[in-house]
Symmetry: C2
Subunit: 240 residues, 2 copies
DNA sequence: GAGTGGTCTAGACCACCCC
DNA sequence: GGGTGGTCTAGACCACTCC
């Protein structure tokens, strides 16, 4: 199970191994994990290395510890596809739907003051203004507007914009998306929005404004999305 | 700064010390932290202990690391009051509003099948059914319905229910709230809801269904909330 | 080559839980 | 008292970055 000659860190090998046991059901919720010292002895690794593996799984919610008693498998399965920060494309795939896109606007504009401020760039710096209708199994699901600095997003084409922007940012630009803040509100569809989403004017919609960051805390892009309330629910997991 | 005779763990002392420097602005965003080995030498502690302190701060978003370069202070300040799992009471206080409550329903009922299932208790087990109008500065903000097992919530009174339920759960019951899942949707107010919230029928509202858990993954309670869209936005931070 | 974080070791003592 | 996780040490070698 543990290969000392692998370039993969030992703690990570153990972490994946234990996670696998939980996901395959070989370790049942509520069950006690073997003691840390046992893992250390069995795989001929240090206890600190075992702890590093287990720490990760505790942070991710797979396990929990009780002082003096042991380490246990959490009752609740982690809802993998729905937690964390995902793109529309990733999320729809996770739900078993086929994601699609219809570009309705693609332009480079000088950044208006409020957007420039949010992206921490100078006013009137060129930014991409991209508006897309997002489809799930071919049906309009949301209206999404992205703002991203043209300086950061070099050579962004209509073609790319109509596919997965996150794949482009992480794959091509080599910019790692680390976190995001989101503001979610409930609203009703305007006439234009209703037309694009193929719903009635005044129908309930969810307005989501997202700001994504690199690990240093530098903003990457702003996204304003309008989701049809009849087809979309937003799910998250919170830690106290 | 570091007291070896204190019962407070060394890594935690260092963690709080560094966090303090960041919050006081003595360590500016983007600034490089002293190397781990320097902290170890300076405070006569092991480098692993230093790493434990820094790991925590990296997880919390205060710092980030770059292999071969160093550890840096994140650009973005963590929005303390809005992240994580908070109660209505805590959230309104954080926003500078005075939270209030108006009890409209308080009863012990046999758990209907879907609710029993969510709480992982047997059908018809007695549960509290509590409905409250939640106020901010005296104005209706949300309509909240809580379901909690009567077996778990012993001696829950109308008096307590009308104050902070989270304070009661953690303070009196000694049950530690660890995490929650939330489903957020956009909807429009029904006639009854509109009347209680003092808004027009058909006005946009946000429907939030929360399920809270203990660290073992055992469900604690279910909450269904209906928020006025004109007065409430939901803010969260996501990690990739 | 010097400095940094990433990984890892082989021990140690403590506080807590259960018998 | 024996087992558990929590903390801590004093080293080590590696990969990476920068000069």
């Amino acid at each position: 199970m543990i290969n000392k000659n692998s370039p993969v860190p030992l703690y990570y090998q153990l972490e994946e191994y234990i996670k696998g046991l939980i996901e395959k059901g070989e370790l049942q919720p509520g069950e006690t994990l073997p003691p840390e010292r046992e893992y250390a002895q069995k795989y001929k690794i240090s206890r600190m290395t075992v702890r590093q593996a287990i720490n990760q799984l505790v942070n991710e919610g797979y396990l929990y510890r009780q002082k003096g008693k042991g380490t246990f498998v959490s009752e609740r399965k982690i809802e993998q596809p729905l937690q964390g920060l995902t793109s529309f494309t990733e999320e729809m795939k996770a739900r078993g739907l086929v994601p699609g896109s219809q570009l309705v606007h693609f332009e480079i504009i000088p950044a208006p003051s409020p957007i420039a401020e949010q992206l921490t760039i100078a006013e009137n710096t060129p930014i991409y203004d991209i508006k897309r209708i997002r489809l799930a199994d071919g049906v309009p699901m949301a209206l999404e507007t992205n703002y991203i600095s043209a300086h950061l997003a070099k050579n962004l084409t209509e073609q790319i914009a109509n596919e997965s922007l996150y794949d482009y940012i992480e794959g091509q630009l080599k910019v790692r998306i680390d976190s995001a803040t989101q503001v979610i509100e409930s609203s009703i569809a305007s006439k234009d929005e209703a037309a694009l989403l193929n719903i009635a004017e005044g129908a309930p919609v969810m307005l989501i404004q997202r700001k994504t960051f690199q690990k240093e805390g530098t903003p990457i892009e702003l996204v304003k999305s309008i989701y049809r309330a009849d087809r979309y629910k937003f799910m998250i997991e919170l830690k106290r």
